[in-house]
């Protein structure tokens, strides 16, 4: 019964997104559509990064590296899968969707495993080691892609086809993935695991004294966070003709951190707002080129002075809506899946 209801809800959500897509394609120019897609990808990045930087309190400043792994992984797998799948099912929308989503999952898997490899040694330690390690990782992975000739080196990876990677990414898929990932991360955050992660952020020694396996949980959260960045990378790769190493510079990691700090570290709703904010403001500041970083720095300073906890702090939007209700029970998790 419950499963049937959930399936119905999922179908309704997908239908709604599909309807929106038709509206967006009819009503907006391609330029605006692109900003909307980027905003969706940013939301995935921000919500995923918030799990580790906000909820768990471990600072990663190299998430662009995981996005890059996901982007290259998805692009490569997509190109290699397209032939066999089309041979099996024939060309068509369904075959494309299958190739695309398998490629995204492959990208997420690569990024997640990379997250495990990076996280396992560095998350054993308490403190800021993760920041240092991820900073290095982000640069190393970019330089690796810069030199990987089978992935096009510095020119980037454009697949085997002269017209570049297929443009699978559209409004429907971006928002289906945004919905899925926000729902999954929300459920994870408002669960026993999420409570344990927050406890680790608040006081790791006390959390361990309460039988919380802190290293295992931190590594798990980090791998999940890396995998979501991988999904975002895969969507990003299939938005344009190819993936280039310079798409994943250090500035990209900083953009992600701006997203979650603007919205409020530890808040999923805040991460969503922050993701949209960065996508829109990046476009508005395009003419300023590298000077936008100066503006960002100013903005961050302003936020630290005026509202150090970010727009929403650690709260969620639904906490504001429910404020009037008495708070004798812990915020009950909503039954989304």
């Amino acid at each position: 019964m419950r499963a049937a209801i959930r399936l119905a809800i999922a179908a309704a959500v997908l239908l709604a997104i599909y309807g929106l897509m038709l509206g967006v394609e009819a009503g907006f120019t391609e330029y605006v559509q692109r900003i909307i897609l980027l905003a969706g990808i940013n939301v995935i990045l921000a919500v995923g990064l918030n799990l580790i930087n906000g909820t768990t309190g471990q600072f990663s400043i190299g998430h662009a590296g995981f996005m890059a792994v996901g982007a290259y992984g998805a692009a490569f797998v997509g190109v290699k899968l397209a032939g066999p799948v089309h041979g099996l099912l024939g060309p068509g929308a369904f075959a494309d969707a299958l190739v695309f989503n398998l490629a995204l999952l492959a990208g997420a898997l690569f990024a997640g495993v990379t997250g495990l490899i990076v996280g396992m040694p560095s998350l054993r330690l308490r403190g800021d080691y993760l920041a240092v390690v991820t900073l290095g990782f982000g640069e190393i992975i970019r330089i690796l892609f810069n030199n990987a000739s089978f992935l096009g080196s510095a020119t980037g990876y454009f697949g085997d086809d002269p017209s570049g990677l297929p443009a699978y990414t559209n409004f429907f898929w971006v928002f289906a993935w945004v919905t899925l990932i926000v729902a999954l991360i929300h459920n994870l955050t408002f669960s026993q695991t999420g409570r344990s992660l927050t406890a680790i952020r608040e006081d790791e020694i006390a959390a361990e004294a309460m039988a919380t396996p802190s290293t295992r949980l931190k590594v798990t959260a980090f791998a999940i966070s890396a995998a979501t960045a991988g999904i975002a990378g895969g969507l990003f790769a299939h938005m344009q003709a190819g993936v280039r190493p310079e798409d994943f510079r250090f500035e990209k990691s900083i953009d992600m951190i701006v997203m979650i700090i603007v919205g409020g570290l530890g808040s999923i709703s805040g991460a969503i707002l922050g993701g949209i904010f960065v996508a829109v403001s990046l476009e508005l500041m395009r003419d300023l080129q590298q000077y936008r970083l100066v503006l960002y720095a100013l903005l961050l300073i302003l936020i630290m002075i005026v509202r150090p906890e970010g727009l929403l702090g650690t709260r969620e939007l639904h906490h504001f809506l429910r404020r009037k209700k008495s708070a004798t029970t812990p915020a009950p998790p909503t039954g989304r899946a």
Binding site: N187, L188, Q192, D203, E208, A209, M210, T328, G335
Partner: protein
Amino acid sequence: MSLLELRSVDKIFGGLHAVKGVSFRVEKGTIFGLIGPNGAGKTTLFNVITGVYTPEHGEILFQGKNIAGLKPAMIAERGVARTFQNIRIFKTMTVAENVMVAGHHLHKASIAAAILRTRSYERDERALAQRAHELLDVLGLAPLAGEVAGSLPYGSQRRLEIARGLMLSPQLLLLDEPAAGMNSQEARTLNEQIRFLRDQLGLTVILVEHNMTVVMNVCETIHVVDHGETIAEGTPGEIKTHPKVLAAYLGEEEPENEASA
């Protein structure tokens, strides 16, 4: 078999011999006091027992098995709960959530089950919330369950730490100065609560405390350490008049030929 037994435990920090060959036994169902002047090594002993530090020498037998060198989370899982001298609650979480953090053993559902919100996950979650409320009730914190833990007064935060520790369903509870910062009324309530934990929940309690009224009232056995070494062990009556204990707390009498300051 004693519930907990320390066999000549040593803990050394660089040049500081913080714990020197301390041995004691804590029998099941007793309230055991660990006292000594400031810097005597009491909290270090707690940290050694709970796995925060690994002792250089000696054995720590809990239910007959050596737990020295195990990780804190594993020792907690085996049934050793503790509170902290400098309160370590999860400040931004609610009182109920603080307690629920310690409830892994009630939550068997995997991360995947949590993400998918399966029926077994929701059942575990309800059981956990209910158990948390029962324990908050025991410590008189039930009306505050929805409050942010960091906003509670000091005494309530100390009791919250106890409730959180109880969520582990422990055999042994280590209380590190639970009466610190409490007024005499709160300390009396604490006495009753500690007895309640032993009598009703069958817990064994080790108590580090400077408030002698509390220690002398609730403890059956008292173990005194000074400069990392055992100086006495006995009933409250014996300890009160033990010459070495008096010397440690009040200072030794100066020899006649030296001028007193």
